[in-house]
């Protein structure tokens, strides 16, 4: 079984988000980059399938050379090899197109992704890849088993969950629950050393078609100073919520 895991390089989850002075772009100064946390669930699941089913795991990233440390981390976690499409991604569609182009030639049985990236929050790439490849798509997956040419995926739905059998090849977008948080793999020294020699292929993009442009960016406006209410005067809190905020 061949698995392709799509990873995105995103600002560390604790990063403060700033924009350039003219607000036209995200300010990358001082940012630490990590594997998108939701992609990490997908990657760990793939490594588990590698161990249990002898699958091979390829990671793919669409990004410039600056994303290579994150790709090496994915290799240290356990992927067999990696592909970087040499394109600074501008939108979900251009990213999906490049992933689909690589997947088309790779004969992958399963494509795993995080359900969205924590930077642009598009949540669009996995579904677009599935459609470009004409494959079934399961989103928000919190469980996955593979049995031959079929997978059983559990997806979260509002107020419940659904178990689905899916014919492979397919695209599955995962989230927390696809594997347990405690099972996420922290690379050990052996993994880090072996990642240095694992193949990382760089391919050029096939097109530069963009469907959505980020015109400008805003920070979240600060809230007014907090009003502290004494625990002995909860009537005041209830009054504020009722009369001032009008939320109860």
């Amino acid at each position: 079984m061949k698995i392709l895991v799509c990873i995105s390089s995103v600002p560390d989850t604790t990063s403060k988000i700033n924009f350039t002075a003219d607000k036209s772009a995200f300010d990358k100064n001082g940012i630490q980059w990590v594997i998108n946390p939701l992609d990490e669930f997908a990657l760990t699941k793939a490594v588990k399938l590698q161990e249990s089913q002898g699958a091979t795991v390829t990671v793919i990233n669409v990004g410039d050379a600056g994303t290579e440390p994150v790709i090496r981390k994915a290799l240290a976690i356990g992927a067999n090899d990696a592909v970087r499409v040499n394109l600074d991604p501008k939108d979900s569609f251009s990213t999906a197109k490049e992933i689909a182009a690589v997947a088309q030639n790779g004969g992958y049985d399963l494509i795993l992704c995080g359900k969205e990236s924590i930077d642009y929050n598009g949540g669009s790439v996995p579904g677009m890849v599935a459609q470009l490849l004409n494959q079934p798509f399961v989103n928000a997956s919190v469980g996955l088993d593979v049995n031959g040419a079929e997978a059983t995926a559990v997806r979260e739905i509002e107020g419940g969950k659904e178990t689905i059998s899916v014919k492979l090849p397919a695209v599955i977008a995962g989230q927390k629950g696809l594997v347990d948080e405690k099972d996420l793999i922290i690379p050990n020294m052996r993994g880090i050393m072996s990642a240095r020699t694992k193949p990382l292929q760089v391919v050029e993009p096939t097109s530069s078609e963009v469907k959505v442009q980020g015109v400008s960016y805003d920070s979240v406006p600060p809230r007014a100073a907090v009003k502290i209410v004494s625990p002995d005067n909860l009537d005041e809190l209830v009054r504020l919520l009722h009369e001032e905020a009008k939320v109860i």
Binding site: T13, T14, K16, I17, S92, F93, A96, I118, D119, N121, G122, G123, S124, V125, G127, A130, Q131, L132, P136, F137, V138, N139, A140, R155, E158, G159, E162, T163, I164, S165, V166, K167, A170, Q175, K176, E181, K182, K211, V212, Q213, G214, V215, S216, Y217, D218, V220, R223, V226, K227, I228, V229, P231, L234, L237, V238, L241, H242, A245, V247, I248
Partner: protein, 315 residues
């Protein structure tokens, strides 16, 4: 510039997010000087509910093959009837699974997580959520068609009644790649993303056995319950309740955080809430800086007392 909207239902019953999406589509149509056509798959609810929010036309797709959900098959079905260049979806799990597939099918731009009515229609430009709620992006669509998904609770469910008509389309879309084996819907529980009030708790609750008081406060407020990441990691609460950067992003009218310190990753999931109340014994908890109202004290005394006081005013 015909405007279409996907009106999502669960087991035939329209979701609140569907009404919000219809209301959003109506605002877009008013800007465009056109009308709204709503599309739904196998609904049992009356179309009157959609006219109330501004849909002049309702297309009810009837297809036995779509009794269970498949993103690909649903995208195919919507594509067959959505004959316009603006299509609105709610940003629910199902709709945000269909929308990317439909965008590729139709060659449309896709802008997700819209927070407000469009800033312009030609080109289509809208403010959207980005950086997990730590920033906003003004996104512009290229080309002639656009699909937009509306972040839940962002635009609001606004009534805008019109007289409408209903059309039934019998389709037979191939749905062979996926098969639903089981479907579990917890009954009587408010959907966290749709809820207008959310009561959330963290490690300050000391153990899962203490959640009863959180649930009671939530019941009195008609609220959904949520939790911080450490709490779902330890297994005190299911991960479906985890709100934050890697959990759910929510934007209720009122978010009450009990015993949550307010890490930046937690704030990313909740800072779109309109009003935030923080209850914490640590006066230095960073969450107080992002709150509208705060109470410093023992949650085990404050929560039962607050529940009683809210019960009293709710009558």
């Amino acid at each position: 510039m015909a405007v279409f909207v996907y009106a999502e239902n669960i087991n035939g019953v329209y979701k609140k997010a569907a009404f919000e999406a219809v209301a959003y589509a109506k605002a877009v149509a008013d800007q465009a000087g056109d009308t709204v056509t709503a599309i739904s798959v196998n609904p049992t609810d009356s179309s009157d509910l959609l006219y109330k929010y501004g849909a002049s036309n309702v297309i009810n797709i009837k297809d036995e093959g779509l009794k269970s959900f498949s993103a690909k098959a649903y995208a195919q079905a919507v594509s067959e009837v959505a004959n316009g260049n603006i299509i609105v979806f709610p940003h629910t799990t199902d709709a945000s699974s269909i929308a990317p597939m439909l965008a590729v099918m139709n060659g449309f731009a896709l802008i997700t997580n819209a927070l407000a009515a469009p800033e312009s229609l030609s080109p289509f430009q809208v403010k959207r959520r980005a950086f997990s709620g730590k920033g906003f992006m003004h996104a512009k669509a290229e080309g002639n068609g656009v699909i937009v998904t509306v972040s839940q609770n962002a635009f609001g469910v606004k009534e805008n009644a019109v007289s409408g008509s209903e059309e039934v389309k019998n389709l037979s879309v191939a749905n062979e790649d996926t098969k639903v084996i089981s479907h579990e819907q917890s009954s009587g529980k408010l959907d966290l993303k749709e809820a207008e009030v959310v009561v959330s708790a963290g490690r300050g609750m000391k153990g899962p056995e203490n959640w009863g008081m959180i649930e009671e406060l939530a019941n009195v407020l008609g609220a959904a319950t949520a939790c911080s990441k450490p709490v779902s990691d330890i297994g005190w609460r299911p991960h479906t309740e985890h709100v934050g950067q890697t959990g759910k992003a929510i934007s209720p009218n009122l978010y009450i955080a009990v015993g949550i310190s307010g890490a930046i990753q937690h704030l990313a999931g909740v800072n779109s809430s309109k009003t935030i109340v923080v209850i914490n014994s640590d006066a230095e908890a960073p969450f107080f800086k992002s709150a509208d109202y705060g109470v410093v004290g023992d949650a085990f005394q404050i929560i039962p007392a607050l529940t009683e006081k809210i019960k009293a005013i709710k009558g």
